[in-house]
Amino acid sequence: MSLGFDREWQLDELLDEASREKIGPALRELLRGDFALTDGAGQALWGQPSADARREPLILELEAVGYLLSSTAPAAALSAARDLLLTLLRAQIRFKMASTLHLEAVAEDFESLKREHARLSESEARYKTLSAELESRVKKQVDQLEERQQMLYEAEKLASVGQLAAGMAHEINNPLGFVRSNLSTFEKYVGKFAEMKTASGPAAESWRVLDLDFILEDSIDLLHDSAKGMERIARIVADLKAFSNVDRASEEYADLNNCLHEAVRMLETQTPAGIGFHFDLLPLPAIVCLPGHINQLFFNILRNAVLAIKDAGRPGEVRISSEADDEGIHIRIHDTGVGMSQEQIEHAFEPFYTTRPVGAGVGLGLATARNVVQAHSGRISLDSQPDVGTTVTLFFPTPP
């Protein structure tokens, strides 16, 4: 049996002990001395039902919930008392049902509120995550924009430097060409002069007096030296052209080992004696990058390394190593130069920060380097000890 408002209420629920105490004596009086009350099953709730008593059923719905009994009351009095009691019981059952239903309804309403609350909390949580997501997406896009802008800026800067270099290379190549060809023609002409050596007469005398033997020999030497100089100029121009990469301004696959070699070649010409380069390169996968930028990056770091050794005032070595793993490419450039203090390391990547005397450098080296690395989604870090040396570690991710 459920305890819902709609259960079939029993007489003892409707008439509790206290109300029985109140109506019992009154009914006994009305029914002239003898009166008993039983529940539907005949169980006495008041008095002792006697065998010869008149009996009136108490019907609230369809069946008797109890009986009113009296052996003293006349039939009319008993049925009048029954009607009175029924009126009382009806009021009681209405009250009981209504209050029980009210409790059930309140509990139901409370459940609804809880459900509603849960639903609201859930949707609030959803909105919160959504807004957090949006925030992080916006931030990512802003970061991306900034990165793109940085790349663009670097690309433009390098492109203009590259254009300048290309223009210069072109301008130098022209005179270089005719100077080289003139020099070789001139050498042939000198050969003609040499034929005068075997001539006789006053010419032979003049030859001796003017010591043309020496001049002829020295001229050939000078011409060879000049030709060598021209070769060097030609190579520098070629390197400059390759380095500036005007023809490679867009992204392409490149082997970073080649870029390292190229940068070292650029640097070697201005590297004083006593400073050596040591390569320790393992095969690398080609990555998509802006080779011009990468060259500039390596050039800046390597030049710093060379300058650091120069500052130490002793011979030294720049060790360049590279290797690849699942995540990407690792490059280390280590020098045995003066090293950096903690404070210097902290400021190293700031633009215009330099440890060199005013005029010796603008201090854009590492700042540019970091920009280039970041534009390639890479990482750059510094490790240094004063008087021992500096290691720059670079990482470029490779797509999985």
């Binding site: 709609d6 719905e61 209504a98 239903l101 509990a107 609804s112």
Partner: protein, 215 residues
């Protein structure tokens, strides 16, 4: 499932529907029209301006050939939107439902909302709406702006429940609504309760007993 013991079987039948659709009037008419073996008084709980605040209750009953006393307790819910908690509590443990809709065209939205709340509340109180014995009654068909029967039939053609068009004011369609519900209840519970096998009641005898008419 109906409440039962060895000698009693009690079905709870609930008249559900939007405010003022005529649920209480349905019970009044049944009280007047039916003459089963046992018929209790119609208990109308507190009302305010004639609108049900808690519920109305009409008890009916008859005795099966086996001696089993079969009781029907007909309840109405309060239709006003504000009393949803009470509506749910009254609906709990129902064995069958009459949905009393208001045929007045102006009440179409209220009917729709009330019907949806019936489905939702069934789920909340653990009643299987799909298999709940139910009859849909369109009351107040006497109103000049009542939606025509054909239009309603057309709209409800896909629904599985029997439709009754009623005028509770004059009693039209009230008894047949109740009869259709009794038949649906018998078909749903008759076998499980072994009404025929144990108590000698077939569907017609069951209906006749409840309505108080010779089978």
């Amino acid at each position: 499932m109906p409440e039962s013991d060895a000698r009693h079987l009690s079905f709870k039948l609930v008249y559900y529907g939007p405010a003022q659709s005529g649920k209480t009037t349905n019970l009044f008419r049944l009280h007047d029209q039916l003459a089963p073996e046992l018929k209790g008084e119609l208990m109308t709980m507190e009302t305010k301006d004639d609108r049900t605040l808690f519920f109305d209750l009409l008890p009916l009953g008859f005795r099966a050939p086996s001696g089993l006393l079969i009781k029907f307790r007909l309840f109405t819910v309060p239709g006003q939107v504000a009393h949803d908690g009470t509506r749910k509590a009254v609906l709990s443990r129902a064995d069958g439902v009459v949905f009393v809709a208001d045929a007045d065209r102006a009440q179409e939205t209220n009917n729709g909302e009330s019907f949806q709340s019936l489905a939702a509340n069934c789920a909340r109180v653990g009643l299987d709406f799909e298999h709940l014995p139910m009859v849909v009654q369109f009351n107040k068909c006497d109103l000049p702006n009542a939606v025509p029967e054909a239009e309603i039939r057309e709209r409800w053609s896909a629904a599985p429940w029997p439709l009754v068009f009623a005028v509770a004011l004059n009693g039209q369609g009230i008894e047949s609504t109740f009869e259709l519900l009794l038949r649906a209840v018998y078909r749903n519970f008759g076998e499980k309760l072994e009404l025929l096998a144990q108590h000698g009641l077939d569907e017609n005898a069951f209906v006749a007993g409840a309505l108080g008419k010779a089978a």
